[in-house]
């Protein structure tokens, strides 16, 4: 019984992490159609921003203030990744819309460049981020079942990001412009929307959310120049399975992969579990090539 409860929680927790790393990609790839191979590197940027914020707090502020660094780090990660994403959109991505293969190659190259920059600045070895003390420990519901606070925090963070994204995309004026441009660029331009600015903002927001993901991942994973490569495949898997262009698809995709992965891993082992999940995804995409939730469209692809 305890095992079932903790495995269910683990499944939910893995799903939340998958969702967090995929949310940014759901915008840059899902909405904009840019096959953004540098997505993982925006996660890395977020992680290193958290590391720098931690060091700043450690060096400059009194000891008591250290515990609040993580909140500042989340905001800083978003802003740094946002700015870098905007710059990247202006100097590179802008010229590659509608050419998926070129954008794939170019963003992959950008990813390699960013990795090497991180390696030159911070060195090849991992760096350590110590988590704030209020996130240590966990909630013990019944004997033997511990819900770590960090996992609960990530769950809450994902929920907040998701609600904020939903409000922005579906309930705000700029979100409406964003959807208009993504759905019909020419028509939106005719109606006086500056498509260039919307493109830049959209890509920057997607990158910023990847930055938040990177910041949150410092709580549970490594922080090094290569961490982007560990998450990029999972992120694409979630977005593709969920259906490109639909937020709700990304959520359901993450939940599905998270739960199945945890179950399979429990019954077999980590390597085999991943294989089973891949087989399931491949089989599913054979049946429904557009993913769980396809955008209904009259366009001919």
């Amino acid at each position: 019984m305890e095992m079932w409860i903790s495995q269910l929680f683990n499944g939910l927790s893995v799903s939340s992490i998958l969702l967090l790393i995929a949310l940014g990609l759901a915008i840059t790839f899902g909405l904009m159609g840019v096959i953004n191979m540098a997505h993982g590197e925006f996660i890395m940027i977020g992680s290193y921003t958290a590391y720098l914020t931690q060091n700043l707090f450690k060096d400059l502020l009194p000891k008591g203030a250290f515990d609040s660094y993580f909140i500042a780090a989340i905001i800083a990660s978003f802003l740094v990744a946002f700015v870098i994403g905007y710059v990247l959109e202006v100097i590179l991505i802008r010229h590659l819309y509608g050419r998926p293969l070129d954008s794939l190659l170019a963003t992959w190259g950008v990813g390699l460049v960013l990795q090497q920059i991180a390696r030159s600045i911070f060195g090849a070895p991992n760096v350590a981020v110590s988590s704030p003390s209020w996130l240590n420990g966990g909630l013990e519901l019944i004997d033997g079942v511990v819900f770590p606070y960090k996992r609960l925090f990530i769950l809450a963070l994902v929920a907040i990001c998701l609600v904020a994204m939903y409000m922005y995309i579906y309930r705000s004026a700029s979100g409406r412009r964003m959807r208009a441009v993504m759905q019909n660029r020419e028509m939106a331009a005719c109606l006086g929307i500056s498509t260039r600015r919307v493109d830049g903002m959209t890509f920057a927001i997607g990158s910023g959310i990847a930055g938040i993901a990177g910041c949150a991942l410092t709580l549970i994973g490594p922080i090094g120049p290569n961490i982007g490569t560990y998450y990029i495949v999972d992120a694409f898997m979630v977005v593709v399975l969920g259906g490109v262009g639909k937020l709700v698809g990304t959520v359901v995709g993450a939940l599905g992969i998270g739960f199945f992965n945890t179950m399979f891993e429990w019954w077999s082992n980590a390597s085999l579990g991943k294989v089973f999940v891949f087989i399931l995804i491949v089989a599913f995409l054979q049946w429904k090539p557009k993913g769980l939730f396809a955008v209904r469209t009259r366009q001919l692809d």
Partner: protein
Amino acid sequence: MKRKGNWFKGMGLAVSVSLALVGCGSNNENNSASSSAPASSAPASSSAASEGGTVKVGILHSLSGTMSISEVTVKNSELMAIDEINAAGGVLGKQIEPVIEDGASDWPTFAEKARKLISEDKAATVFGGWTSASRKAMLPVFEELNGLLWYPVQYEGLESSPNIFYTGATTNQQIVPSVDYLLEQGKKKFFLLGSDYVFPRTANKIIKAQLAAKGGETVAEEYTPLGHTDYTTIIAKIKEAKPDVVYNTLNGDSNVAFFKQLKDAGIAAADLTTLSVSIAEEEVKGIGADFLAGHLVAWNYYQTTDTPENKTFVESFKAKYGADSVTSDPMEAGYTAVYLWKAAVEKAGSFDVDAVKAAAGGIEFNAPEGKVTIDGENQHIYKTVRIGEIQSDGMIKELWNSGSPVKPDPYLKGYDWAGDLSSGS
């Protein structure tokens, strides 16, 4: 018109990026193509390396990619040894000129660069490698061209190439004694956790045979892919299996995720012993000492090892690479390798590979870890085994050592329970 301009700009960019990528790929091919021709004549001309006032040696580690985390530090300590030797007058009156190549965490690249170092650069010897996969990729190249490789990392044993000197521990200098140590401490139920590749799988095969022979028990054996970052399910399995000890052969970044998540799950070192064989001072720094304090490791050298040689080694390393830098076992093994090669060359009076190999047996060196001796038969070195406990300041405190250097036994011939292992692979 505007559209076209954009198209050209974008296209140019894409082409340049893809060219750069293709460039990386084809570079290797060119190397192999151009070097395969002079390969046959390479052994004859290997003495060309020593012409003039310098002698070239190769340094071949991953300076980019996932393994760079570990390998860059070994490169640094090898370069430090070379600088020290050069400052003291070089080898046979010649200054050592290091040729640094990047294996890029890609095993075929290791093989290509090794070929380039031997055939084109005419390197007298090569110091390099970390993962067993990279060593296995380089091995045929060194044997074919009769080159010389010094491999500085602990590994899974069951190998002894005439063209490789192994200055890291083989299994009977790290894993076997550490399992004995745990059994003596009354830990009988072992949970084996490792990354899914050759070293952990071979190591666990040995551990299982040893446990079966000595009254221990393997309660579970789990592998995760390299770079795996979610250990919640593994930790749930550990909780259910209730082992006395987790024997950890995870490698690289996975260790960070495992130990962070272990602590989050409410399991501290006091509740569950873990013993790791791939976590040294450098890795402790990257994981965060607060996650690791109290956990055990097995190596042959720690930064705290108390020898006069180590004091100088740590001091010069900090002077060269910054006060924050730490020294670890593979770095020490890489450093020692350079000095052992120098001693072998001087004994042979020549840089010729065969002469150096013939002279190497029995050479002693007072390394930072204590006295080491080259075993002429299997080209491994005698090393002292040390079990340590990670402290909250990131240093490792020695709990136990073997007292004297242990004779290397890569095929575990001296252990009757290991009879089937060497024949199996």
